[in-house]
Amino acid sequence: MTDREQIINAIAANQPAFSPLPATHFTAEDQEDLASQFADTLTAIGSVVFVVDNLADIHQHIKSNTSADHRVISTIGMVEYNEDIGTNISPHSLQNVEIAVLKAHFGVAENGAVWLTEELMGNRVLPFICQHLMIALPIKDIVANMHKAYERIGNDSYGFGAFIAGPSKTADIEQSLVMGAHGPKTMTIFLMRS
C-alpha cells in the first residue's frame, strides 16, 4: 500500500460522523468612512498614507523623493520607471530595486491589507525584494473586512496572490519591533481620489 492509500484509508476509517459546514454570516460593519478606518489601521501597523488626486501626483512624489541612482520600477504606467520584469528575467536581478510602485486590487479597512495578484506585481518577488514598497489604490476600492475581501476575490484564478499589510517586520529580539526584516523597510499607500 502506498503512503497515500495508507493515509486516506486511516483517515476515512477514523473520521467522525459527518458534521455540516456552518453558515458564515457576520455583522455588517459600518460601511461609512472606510477610507479613514483604513488609513488609521495602516498608520498603526507602520505604513505611511497619502491621499492624492491621481497617478500624476504619485509620480511627482516619487520624483522628488528619489535620486537618479535609485532603481525604481513601476508597473502602473510611469514610462520612465517601466522595465520588462516578466517571466523572461531572473528574479535575482531585482535584488537592487530601491522602490517598487504597484497597484492593488483593493484594500481592507479592518487590517490595512491590500490584495495583489501576480499580474499587478510584474514579478512575484518584486513586492518582497524591493527596499521600499509603494501602492496606488483608488479610494473607492476599500472593503470593510476579510469576509468582504473574499467575496470580492470570488472565484478569480491567479498563480500567486498576497494580502500585504505594512512593511516587513519582526519582533523576535526581546519583542522590540523592527521594520525591514527581509522585505521592504517601508510601505507607502497612495489613496487616489480618481
Binding site: 518577488v125 494580502f163 527581509h182
Partner: protein, 456 residues
C-alpha cells in the same frame, strides 16, 4: 542541550534557577496576551468567529479523506506536485530525494513546526545538506543549537545580550552590541545573501484550500516569499489537518489567527500559492505522522483543529514560568501537551500533568479546543496505560491502600497531624516535593471524623 532524560518538572526546575529571568519571561508573554485581548475586544463578532471556525474545523475533520483528495486533484490541475508521507521518516526522505534529484546541497527554510516535529534539519545535515532557517527567531535558535521554545516566538526565552553574543560569534557583529535594530539589520544582510544563492526553499503551510488547490503561508518578515520566489524548487510541508474547505473560509481564519497570536490585525504577508512560476516547481508534502490516529481518539481529535497561534502558551501560568524547553517537544505549552502523548505516550507521559487545569488555554483558543479537558483526560489514559511517573505511581498506590482501609486511614491521619504539630522538620525539608515552593498547612486539632463523633 540534553533534555532526553529529564521530565517537565525537572526541566522547569532548571529554568526556575534564575528567578529574574522567569519573571521577565512571564511578564513578556503576559504582555502579548494583553495585546491579544485589546485586538480581540475591538471585534464585536469575535465569539461568533470562534464558533464558526470551530464548526468549520468539525466539518473538516468529519470529511477529511474527501477534502484531501479534492485538494490533491485541484492542486495537481494547477501544476503543483503532491507527495504523501505516512510518517516523519518518509517526509524527510521525500525532501532529500527532491534535493538530490536536482543536485542541490543547500536549502533555505521558513518557519515550519512540522519540520521541527520531523527533525528534518538534523536528517538533512546527516545527509550533507545544509539548511538555513530564515525566520529571525528560528535563525537565532539555530545558531544557538537549540530548538525553538515557542511556536510563534521561537527565541522568546533569549535575552538580547545573548543574541548579541551569538551574532558576534557567527555573523561578526560588534562585541557587546545588542541593539535589536542593529542585530536585525545584520540578519537581513546575511539572509539576503542566502535567499539570493539558494536554489531550494522549504516553507510550512498555514491553510490548504480543498476547493481551489491553493495554499496560504503567513509571515511578518516576508521570509517565506523571499525564499520561494527566488528558488527553482519550493517544497511546502503540511499536516493533513491544514485543510479548509473553501477559499471564503480564509476570511474567518485570517481574522482569528494573528489577533490571537500577537494582537496584530493580520500578518504582514498572507501569501496564496496556487501555481508554480514558469519552468519552476512547487511540491506539497502531505504528512500524517500520527494525525490519523489522533483523529480516531474521540476525546482528543479536537486537538487537530489547532491553527498554531500560540495563544494558549502566552496565557498559560505554567508555560510562562517554566519555559518552552521544559516540554521537551517541538510544540510546547498546553497544545503541545495534548498533541505529544499521541505521538509517544511514554516519552510524553509527564506533559499533561504540567498544568493547573485553570482553563485559560481553552478560553483564548480561537478554534475552541477544549484543551484543559483534554489535559485532564490524558492524565487518566496515561495512568491507565501504566505510564504515570514513578513517584506519582508510588504515591497513588499508597493513597489507594490507605483510602481502602478504615484503620489505615484513621491511623495515618492521626500520625500526619502529630508529625505536623510536633515534628514539622520531618516534612518541611527538601525531600518533600510539596514543600519546595509552598508552606505546609497548619494541622487541624482533630479530623472531621473525630469532630463529628463528638458533635453529632
Amino acid at each position: 542541550m540534553s533534555t532526553e532524560t529529564k521530565d517537565h518538572a525537572a526541566l522547569a526546575d532548571d529554568f526556575n534557577k534564575d528567578e529574574d529571568r522567569v519573571d521577565w519571561h512571564d511578564e513578556t508573554l503576559w504582555w502579548i496576551r494583553q495585546k491579544r485581548d485589546k485586538a480581540v475586544n475591538k471585534l464585536p463578532d469575535w465569539e461568533l468567529l470562534r464558533d464558526t471556525a470551530s464548526a468549520i474545523k468539525d466539518n473538516v475533520l468529519s470529511n477529511l479523506s474527501v477534502y484531501l483528495q479534492e485538494f490533491e486533484a485541484k492542486a495537481q490541475n494547477n501544476g503543483i506536485i503532491i507527495h504523501w508521507a505516512a510518517n516523519a521518516e518518509m517526509h524527510n526522505k521525500i525532501v532529500l530525494d527532491l534535493l538530490k534529484a536536482k543536485g542541490i546541497r543547500q536549502m533555505v527554510k521558513s518557519k515550519s513546526m512540522l519540520t521541527e516535529e520531523c527533525h528534518l534539519n538534523e536528517y538533512l545535515e546527516n545527509n550533507n545538506i545544509e539548511v538555513i532557517d530564515s525566520d529571525l527567531g528560528e535563525r537565532i535558535v539555530q545558531l544557538a543549537k537549540e530548538p525553538p521554545s515557542h511556536i510563534v516566538l521561537p527565541c522568546i526565552h533569549k535575552k538580547k545580550e545573548e543574541i548579541g553574543e551569538l551574532f558576534h560569534l557567527h555573523l561578526g557583529t560588534d562585541k557587546g552590541n545588542s541593539d535589536p535594530q542593529y542585530l536585525t539589520e545584520t540578519a537581513r544582510q546575511h539572509l539576503r545573501n542566502i535567499f539570493i544563492t539558494r536554489r531550494a526553499s522549504l516553507t510550512g503551510v498555514n491553510f490548504a484550500i480543498a476547493q481551489t488547490g491553493e495554499f496560504v503561508v503567513c509571515t511578518n518578515e516576508g521570509n517565506a516569499d523571499m525564499g520561494a520566489h527566488l528558488a527553482d524548487i519550493h517544497i511546502a510541508s503540511m499536516g493533513v489537518e491544514k485543510i479548509i474547505p473553501e477559499r471564503k473560509h480564509l476570511g474567518v481564519f485570517l481574522r482569528l489567527l494573528t489577533r490571537s497570536a500577537t494582537g496584530q490585525p493580520i500578518t504582514t504577508y498572507s501569501s496564496h500559492y496556487s501555481k508554480p512560476r514558469d519552468s519552476k516547481e512547487i511540491h506539497v508534502i502531505i504528512v500524517d505522522n500520527g494525525r490519523s490516529k489522533q483523529l480516531g481518539r474521540a476525546d482528543f481529535r479536537n486537538s487537530l483543529k489547532c491553527i498554531r497561534c500560540g495563544a494558549c502558551m502566552n496565557t498559560c501560568p505554567v508555560y510562562r514560568r517554566s519555559g518552552g524547553h521544559s516540554y521537551h517537544n517541538a510544540i510546547s505549552g498546553p497544545i503541545g501537551a495534548i498533541l505529544a502523548p499521541n505521538l509517544d505516550m511514554e516519552k510524553f507521559a509527564d506533559l499533561p500533568f504540567a498544568s493547573t487545569l485553570c482553563g485559560s488555554c481553552s478560553n483564548v483558543c480561537p478554534v475552541k479546543i477544549d484543551i484543559h479537558q483534554q489535559l485532564y483526560k490524558w492524565r487518566q489514559v496515561i495512568v491507565q496505560n501504566g505510564y504515570a511517573p514513578a513517584a506519582k505511581k508510588a504515591a497513588m498506590k499508597l493513597m489507594s491502600i490507605t483510602l481502602s482501609s478504615p484503620f489505615l486511614y484513621h491511623t495515618s491521619g492521626k500520625a500526619g497531624r502529630m508529625v505536623l504539630r510536633f515534628a514539622p522538620f520531618a516534612v518541611n525539608n527538601r525531600f518533600n516535593p510539596w514543600f519546595k515552593q509552598r508552606d505546609m498547612p497548619a494541622p487541624p486539632d482533630q479530623s472531621f471524623g473525630e469532630w463529628y463523633a463528638k458533635n453529632r
